[in-house]
C-alpha cells in the first residue's frame, strides 16, 4: 500500500484528505457514519469570536452540479467551540483545524489568541466568506488588506496559520503572495464563488443577501486553475479545494501543486465520500506504482 503520509506546516497528516469548513459541522454527525480517524484532518465550521445566528431566508439552492449557500457563518462562537466542541473533535484521532472568521481585525486577533492556547493543530483564517455583510470576504479581495490582517493575526498566533483565499480576490497569485509575506504558513483555496439565483415565479432574488457562495463540482476547474497559479508562486504549502468528488479530482489538485486537499460539498452528496476517496487514491497509487504523492505533486 502506498504511503499517504503528508507533512505540511510542521504537522504530519495521515493522508492529505481534510474535510472542509462548513460542510462537516464539528465532525460529530459524521462520526456516526464512519471512523473519522481515517481522515487527514477535520476543519471546524467557520467560527467567529461571538456566536452568530446566520442569515435569514433561503440558505441553500441547488444549481447544475453546484450548490449556492447563504448560511452566514452560523456558529456558537470561539469560547463555546473551545469548551464544547473541541474536546470531541480531538477525540476522533485526526488533526483538528479551527476555521476562524471575523468582522473586524480585533475580532480575528482575539479569536486567534484564544485558539492559540488550545489543542487545535492549525488555525485556518477565513478571509473569504461571501455571506457576511462586513468583514469576511472584504478582507480577501485586496492584497494589501489581506496582508494587514494576516500579519496582525500572525503576531499573536501560536499555531500554524493557514489562510483561506477567496476566488473573488482581484488577483489570486498576488493575494497568495501577500498572505505569504504576511506570515501565512499555508494557503488554502478556493472558498465559494460569489453567485446569485433568481426565483422567476416570485420575481425576487432567492437569497435575502442577493449574493451567496457557489460550490460543488461545477467550480472544480476554476479551483484547479487557481491552485495551479498559486502553487507556482508561493513557497508555503497549498491546500486545494473546490468541487472535489473523486480520487481523480484529488490527484488533479496534487498534480496542480496542492500539498493537502479539502473535501467540501462532496460530504453532503455522500456522507462517507472521504472513505471512498482515500481507498481509491491508494488503489491509483498502487496501480501507477507511485510510492508517495511527492512523486506527482506539482508536476503540471
Amino acid at each position: 500500500m502506498a504511503n499517504l503520509t503528508t507533512n505540511a506546516m510542521g504537522v504530519e497528516f495521515k493522508n492529505p484528505i481534510i474535510t472542509a469548513s462548513g460542510t462537516f459541522g464539528f465532525g460529530e454527525e459524521f462520526s456516526q457514519i464512519f471512523d473519522l480517524s481515517i481522515l487527514g484532518g477535520i476543519c471546524s465550521k467557520g467560527l467567529t469570536l461571538h456566536p452568530k445566528q446566520g442569515n435569514k431566508g433561503v440558505r441553500l439552492w441547488e444549481t447544475p452540479m453546484g450548490l449556492i449557500n447563504s448560511i452566514g457563518l452560523q456558529n456558537p462562537g470561539v469560547d463555546k467551540f473551545i469548551c464544547d466542541e473541541l474536546p470531541k473533535m480531538k477525540s476522533y484521532g485526526t488533526k483538528v483545524i479551527a476555521n476562524l472568521g471575523g468582522n473586524t481585525t480585533e475580532e480575528y486577533i482575539i479569536g486567534a489568541k484564544k485558539l492559540s492556547v488550545t489543542d487545535v493543530d492549525i488555525i485556518e483564517l477565513n478571509i473569504s466568506c461571501p455571506n457576511v455583510k462586513s468583514g469576511g470576504m472584504a478582507f480577501g479581495i485586496k492584497s494589501n488588506v489581506a496582508f494587514d490582517i494576516v500579519s496582525s493575526v500572525k503576531k499573536v498566533c501560536k499555531k500554524p496559520l493557514m489562510v483561506k483565499l477567496s476566488p473573488n480576490a482581484e488577483n489570486i497569485a498576488d493575494m497568495a503572495l501577500a498572505c505569504e509575506s504576511g506570515g501565512a504558513d499555508a494557503i488554502s483555496l478556493i472558498n465559494t464563488i460569489k453567485a446569485m439565483a433568481i426565483d422567476v415565479k416570485k420575481k425576487t432574488s432567492v437569497f435575502d443577501n442577493i449574493y451567496a457562495g457557489l460550490s460543488g463540482p461545477c467550480v472544480k476547474p476554476i479551483a484547479l486553475r487557481m491552485v495551479h497559479e498559486v502553487s507556482k508562486v508561493v513557497k508555503v504549502p497549498v491546500c486545494g479545494l473546490g468541487g472535489i468528488m473523486t480520487s481523480t479530482d484529488v490527484i488533479e489538485f496534487i498534480m496542480a501543486g496542492a500539498t493537502i486537499v479539502q473535501i467540501g460539498t462532496g460530504n453532503f452528496i455522500k456522507p462517507d465520500i472521504a472513505v471512498d476517496i482515500i481507498d481509491e487514491i491508494n488503489e491509483y497509487m498502487d496501480k501507477e506504482n507511485i510510492k508517495t504523492l511527492d512523486e506527482i505533486r506539482g508536476i503540471i
Binding site: 454527525e29 457514519i33 433561503v58 441547488e62 452540479m65 460530504n267 462517507d272
Partner: protein, 248 residues
C-alpha cells in the same frame, strides 16, 4: 444511521405526480421511528444533493416512501427502475416519540404531508382520528382506514369526501394531542389553534436540506429557544416552539 445502497423493489405512480417507492435495507432492526426520513439520491449524476424523503411505511427489511415530484431531484428518483440501486442515508431526524403520544389523538395531514403520517398512525399505542386534506385526487386513504379509528377525507373541490379545507372539519376540543404535517399555512393555523385552546400540538416540518445530518445548517428553523436544525433537532417540533417563525 448509515449510508445504504439499496435495491429498489417498487417505484410506481399512485396519484398524479405522487410515487410510492419501496427499497430493500438489510439488518434494519426496526429502529426507524415514525416521522424520520432518509436522504435519497440516484446513483447517476442527474442531480447533486440527496433529497430528504419521509418514511411512509416500514416492512421486514424494507422501507417505503411516498413522494411528490417537486423538481429535478424527485423527478430523477421517479425514473429509478425496479432492481436498480439508490443511495439512502438514514434513518435521520428525531421522529415522533410514540410513548409521549397518549389520550385522544387527532392526526391532520395535507398534500404530500399525509405520507409520513401513515407509519405514525400504525405505530401509535392509542387509536387516532385521521383528517386528510387533498386538492382533488386522494391517495393512501385505504391504508389509513386500516389503522385509524376514524378517517375523514376532505378535498378542496369536494369531488371526494367533504369539501373545503381539512382544518375546518376538526373539532379540536375532542383531543388531547393534535399532530400535523402539510403545507406551512395549514400547520400554522393548526398550531395557533392548539396554542389558543391549550392542546398539545406536534408539527412535522419540511425544509430544503443539503446534508440531512445536522452539519450544513441549511435547514435552520427559528424557534423560541433560538435556531434549531429541521434535520437533526426536528423535523418534529412542538407547535408552540416554532410558531414564532410564522409571525411575520
Amino acid at each position: 444511521m448509515k449510508v445504504y445502497h439499496s435495491k429498489v423493489l417498487e417505484n410506481r405512480l399512485i396519484s398524479t405526480n405522487i410515487y410510492k417507492m419501496t427499497i430493500e435495507i438489510d439488518n434494519l432492526n426496526n429502529d426507524i421511528k415514525p416521522g424520520q426520513f432518509f436522504m435519497l439520491k440516484t446513483l447517476d449524476n442527474s442531480f447533486l444533493l440527496p433529497r430528504p424523503i419521509s418514511v411512509n411505511e416500514v416492512g421486514v427489511n424494507t422501507v417505503t416512501f411516498v413522494y411528490r415530484i417537486q423538481g429535478t431531484g424527485t423527478k430523477s428518483i421517479s425514473y429509478v427502475k425496479l432492481k436498480d440501486y439508490i443511495q439512502a442515508t438514514g434513518p435521520l431526524g428525531n421522529g415522533f416519540d410514540i410513548n409521549l403520544i397518549n389520550g385522544r389523538v387527532a392526526i391532520i395531514g395535507g398534500g404530500i404531508g399525509i405520507a409520513p403520517l401513515l407509519y405514525l398512525t400504525k405505530c401509535l399505542k392509542t387509536t387516532s382520528d385521521v383528517y386528510l386534506g387533498y386538492k382533488d385526487e386522494v391517495y393512501l386513504v385505504d391504508e389509513f382506514r386500516r389503522y385509524a379509528n376514524k378517517t375523514v377525507v376532505v378535498t378542496e373541490n369536494g369531488g371526494i369526501g367533504f369539501k373545503g379545507f381539512v382544518t375546518d372539519y376538526v373539532d379540536y376540543n375532542n383531543y388531547d394531542i393534535v399532530i400535523t404535517c402539510g403545507p406551512e399555512i395549514m400547520m400554522n393555523k393548526i398550531a395557533s389553534k392548539c396554542r389558543d385552546l391549550n392542546i398539545k400540538c406536534l408539527v412535522s416540518l419540511e425544509r430544503r436540506m443539503a446534508c440531512g445530518l445536522g452539519a450544513c445548517l441549511g435547514c435552520t428553523v427559528e424557534t423560541i429557544y433560538g435556531n434549531k436544525r429541521a434535520c437533526k433537532d426536528g423535523p418534529i417540533f412542538a407547535g408552540e416552539e416554532i410558531l414564532v417563525q410564522w409571525r411575520k
